[in-house]
């Protein structure tokens, strides 16, 4: 217990005279610098409260002398950005796709902006560089399901595939096995036939036999008599080596058995007209040099 205040020989300060299990406290005055900063920070706060929106007053609040409000600041920033918009943006809005593709300087800018848009919005499914992945088409391959002309690409991006847009593109591969349209043996024959189609890149008439009859009866309506796909149904070309889900016999069997229904979101609510136009050009550009021929 306290034996009264005593002087600490090291600092020369008195203790408070309290003691707790051997712990004592010096009664050192609060250093001036602490008061200084306490007052300074408080004065700064006071100053800031006068300038900025700060204190609540029932249903309103002190607005501050600067008249600043963050919502207004964002609106102003957006307006200023629009005013300062670089000329290429107006060009993109004004010109049609063919004119833009013919303008290398503009396309330079489109590629730069398109790369960021594609990376942030498309690459998660279609892969960086548009290389695709299981279940997601490789855009760089240029094997278009719905057509590769810029106007068509733009429409796909706008409405999506199997999306909730009223004009959405719709496509569905039926589940031939699960829904008992074909027997397991028939599906095996058919999957072998489809593998052969792309492996040989042969004319369809040559690939005769059992498989051909099954194909003609069940698949040709969507994939075409020549198995080269149809943009009207969004059904892929089966004679090339580009596969969405995989081109081995087992995967094709799974596709035939359970069917497939891909999904691509609509982008009309997420991206501006300008951004979608840039993306269209970027994607069309990406596929150039691929073996897409339509």
């Amino acid at each position: 217990m306290s034996g009264g205040a005593e002087r600490d020989p090291l600092t020369g300060h008195m203790t408070t005279g309290h003691e707790w299990n051997g712990i004592k406290e010096l009664n050192t005055p609060v250093p001036r610098i602490v008061w200084f900063f306490l007052i300074t920070t408080f004065l700064f706060s006071l100053f800031w409260w006068v300038l900025m929106p700060a204190w609540p007053l029932g249903h309103t609040y002190t607005k501050g002398l600067m008249g600043i409000d963050q919502r207004q600041m964002v609106a102003d920033d957006l307006r200023r950005a629009a005013e300062k918009a670089p000329p290429w943006r107006a060009e993109v809005i004004r010109l049609d796709y063919a004119d833009m593709q013919a303008d290398p300087v503009l396309m330079e800018q489109v590629r730069r902006h398109g790369a960021v848009l594609f990376g942030d919005n498309c690459a998660a499914c279609h892969g960086p560089g548009g290389t695709g992945g299981p279940g997601f088409p490789a855009l760089a391959a240029g094997a278009w399901l719905w057509g590769g002309a810029p106007e068509v690409l733009a429409e796909t991006i706008r409405v999506g595939i199997n999306s909730d847009h009223p004009d959405t593109r719709v496509s569905q591969m039926p589940a031939f096995g699960r829904d008992q349209m074909l027997t397991r043996a028939e599906l095996q024959t058919l999957s072998g036939y489809v593998v052969a189609l792309s492996a040989l890149e042969m004319p369809i008439e040559v690939a005769q036999g059992n498989g051909y009859a099954l194909f003609a009866a069940n698949c040709a309506a969507c994939h075409g008599e020549d198995a080269r796909g149809m943009v009207e149904t969004g059904a892929p070309n089966l004679t090339d080596n580009v596969w969405i889900y995989g081109g081995d016999g087992e995967t094709i069997f799974t596709t035939l058995f359970y069917g497939r229904q891909g999904h691509m979101p609509r982008w009309d609510q997420r991206l501006s007209d300008l951004d979608r136009k840039v993306l269209t050009l970027y994607v069309a550009d990406m596929a150039e040099g691929g073996h897409g021929d339509r």
Binding site: M1, S2, D8, L10, T11, H13, T15, T16, H18, W20, N21, G22, I23, K24, E25, L26, N27, T28, P29, V30, P31, V34, F37, L38, T41, F42, F44, S45, W48, W49, M52, P53, A54, W55, P56, Y61, T62, G64, I68, D69, Q70, R71, A81, K84, A85, P86, W88, R89, Q109, R112, H113, A115, V116, L117, F118, G119, D120, A123, P128
Partner: protein, 545 residues
């Protein structure tokens, strides 16, 4: 444990456990939700397990009356062991999460091991498991020593400690199953929150009753902080967790708050959890173990007062700085920012009070790794509070927010301040409680210190780098008025720093493992040759005045 309780107290313990088991049984049997049933089963198993322990000691002889003239340290001893266990668990999970961010395949394609479920196991494990048990262990020890009185309860300290650990267990077992209310640091669902509420109010009553029994005329600073920690955490916990359960027998509940009010309530809670759980409680720890270890008086009683009230008052306003540039009204952001700036002064006051207390004891800091733990903790406390006030400035926040800078900031505080002060306190407390002359291995304390310091520095520096790079990449426009980088580019840029961070975490974890081994060996080691100081017992009469 049980032998220290009287027969009536043992029966009361059994009754409490019986009620708890009944609750667990009701939950398990009446659930219309498998996860709720599972948690009911866990509660039942917990209660039955402890029930066996009590029953096995039920017929032990009555404890000697002399125990009431001693301090009651058994709960602290158990809490120390739990503290080290939770430290290893929480840090190990943390390092797993760190590696997972660098190599995402470490989720092993298992839903329960996805990042969003593992991360809260880490945060709850270290904050509540490690930090909370350290606070309970030290607060029980400190309040008795500085009040020179025995804890005001025989059974309630056990109820607080074990009940609190049941809370931690329910929390971390729920996350991998998907039980969460998705509020950061307040993830557990309504029934777990209710349980913590009961436990925490018991803690508060126990603490206040012990303070009221004190044999010293004044209440020591450490107790101000511990009490502030207990009271404010109770308040924060209750308000932020107000929710309406879907049904009494379902794990899910819906928060009473929505939209921006929910966000503000959550960050009022979140920031004050940092303030009163991770700061006030550990300042209490620092104010006792640092001067004892340094054998110096506290630098200034007056600074203690200024800092305590400054921190207590100012922190309450600062939470909105977590919501700069959001739908939160601008005026709330202004208040959050300005109070965060003023807050720096009392925070540095506390850090300075600790460091200036070491004047005249710097040779001990050099020679004694335990005291060095506490000294470095005070420095990190100062650094982190400076950084926190700086990041609360709106313009700075526009760069730092949502980046790894925030993660680095939190860990400078959590590793550098909270964990280091706890280890320093545990290395002081463990030999004292078990009557050992010192820790089993001074060399191991030294190794732990350097591993912890290196790990913290690597962690914090890598996150500063990655955070600033990330923030700058997000806001960089090219000459054509277009954002220069897609998001994925920033992820690629983070990769080397994520590896560095995980290495830092591994160092910190290995230090803690050495610490756990050292604590264990100290507990199992031989008693000190000399008896502990004779005056390490409660005062039976009011001395002096």
């Amino acid at each position: 444990m049980v032998a220290q309780l009287t027969r009536a107290e043992r029966q009361f313990a059994l009754l409490t456990l019986g009620l708890l088991a009944l609750c667990g049984l009701l939950m398990a049997a009446g659930a219309n939700d498998d996860l709720f049933a599972l948690h009911g089963g866990l509660i039942l198993a917990f209660a039955v397990g402890l029930g066996f322990l009590v029953i096995s000691g039920l017929d032990a002889p009555e404890p000697a009356d002399g125990r009431l003239a001693e301090y009651y340290d058994d709960p602290s001893r158990v809490a120390i062991v739990l503290t080290m266990g939770w430290a290893l668990f929480g840090l190990a999970v943390g390092d797993w999460v760190a590696w997972m961010l660098a190599y995402p395949q470490l989720t092993f394609d298992a839903a329960w091991a996805s990042f969003g479920r593992i991360r809260p196991i880490h945060t709850t494990g270290v904050i509540f498991g490690f930090g909370g048990n350290a606070l309970i262990a030290t607060s029980f020890h400190v309040v008795q020593r500085t009040c020179r009185t025995r804890l005001a309860g025989q059974f309630s300290p056990w109820f607080v400690l074990l009940g609190y650990n049941l809370f931690c267990l329910l929390a971390v077992s729920g996350y991998p199953l998907g039980i969460t209310q998705s509020k950061e640091y307040a993830e557990p669902e309504w029934y777990v929150d209710l349980w913590l509420c009961i436990v925490w109010v018991t803690y508060l009553v126990l603490y206040i009753r012990t303070l009221a029994r004190r044999r010293e005329p004044h209440i020591y600073v450490a107790n101000w902080y511990y009490l502030a920690f207990i009271i404010v955490v109770a308040m924060l916990h209750i308000v932020n967790n107000i929710a309406v359960p879907v049904a009494w027998n379902h794990a899910r509940a819906y928060s009473a708050f929505g939209g921006v009010q929910d966000a503000m309530t959550q960050w009022w809670y979140g920031h004050n959890a940092v303030a009163f759980f991770l700061t006030a409680g550990f300042l209490g720890m620092m104010y006792y173990y640092l001067p004892v270890r340094a054998q110096r008086p506290i630098f200034s009683y007056r600074m203690s007062i200024i800092s305590f009230w400054g921190i207590t008052f100012m922190y309450m306003w600062a939470g909105s700085h977590h919501l700069h540039y959001t739908a939160l009204p601008h005026w709330v952001q202004t208040l959050g920012m300005t109070f965060s700036l003023i807050l720096l002064v009392p925070s540095w006051g506390s850090a300075a009070n600790a460091l200036l207390t070491l004047n005249g004891a710097w040779h001990r800091v050099r020679d004694d790794a335990t005291l060095r733990f506490m000294m470095v903790a005070a420095i990190f406390y100062g650094l982190t509070t400076f950084e926190g006030s700086f990041m609360a400035i709106r313009a700075v926040n526009s760069l730092s927010h949502y980046t790894d800078w925030t993660v680095g900031h939190v860990h400078a505080g959590a590793l550098g301040w909270v964990a280091l002060i706890s280890f320093g306190a545990l290395y002081s407390l463990t030999p004292a409680l078990w009557g050992r002359a010192r820790m089993h291995s001074a060399w191991a304390v030294e190794a732990h210190f350097w591993l912890a310091l290196a790990g913290t520095l690597i962690y914090v520096f890598s996150m500063w780098n990655s955070g600033v790079i990330q923030g700058l990449m997000w806001r960089t426009y090219d000459a054509g008025g277009t954002l220069a980088y897609p998001f994925i580019d920033t992820v690629v840029a983070m990769h080397p720093y994520y590896i560095a961070r995980a290495v830092g975490g591994a160092l910190f974890l290995s230090g803690a493992a050495i610490g756990a081994w050292n604590v264990w060996m100290t507990i199992r080691g031989p008693a000190a040759a000399s008896q502990p100081a004779v005056d390490d017992r409660p005062l039976t009469v009011l001395a002096g005045e």
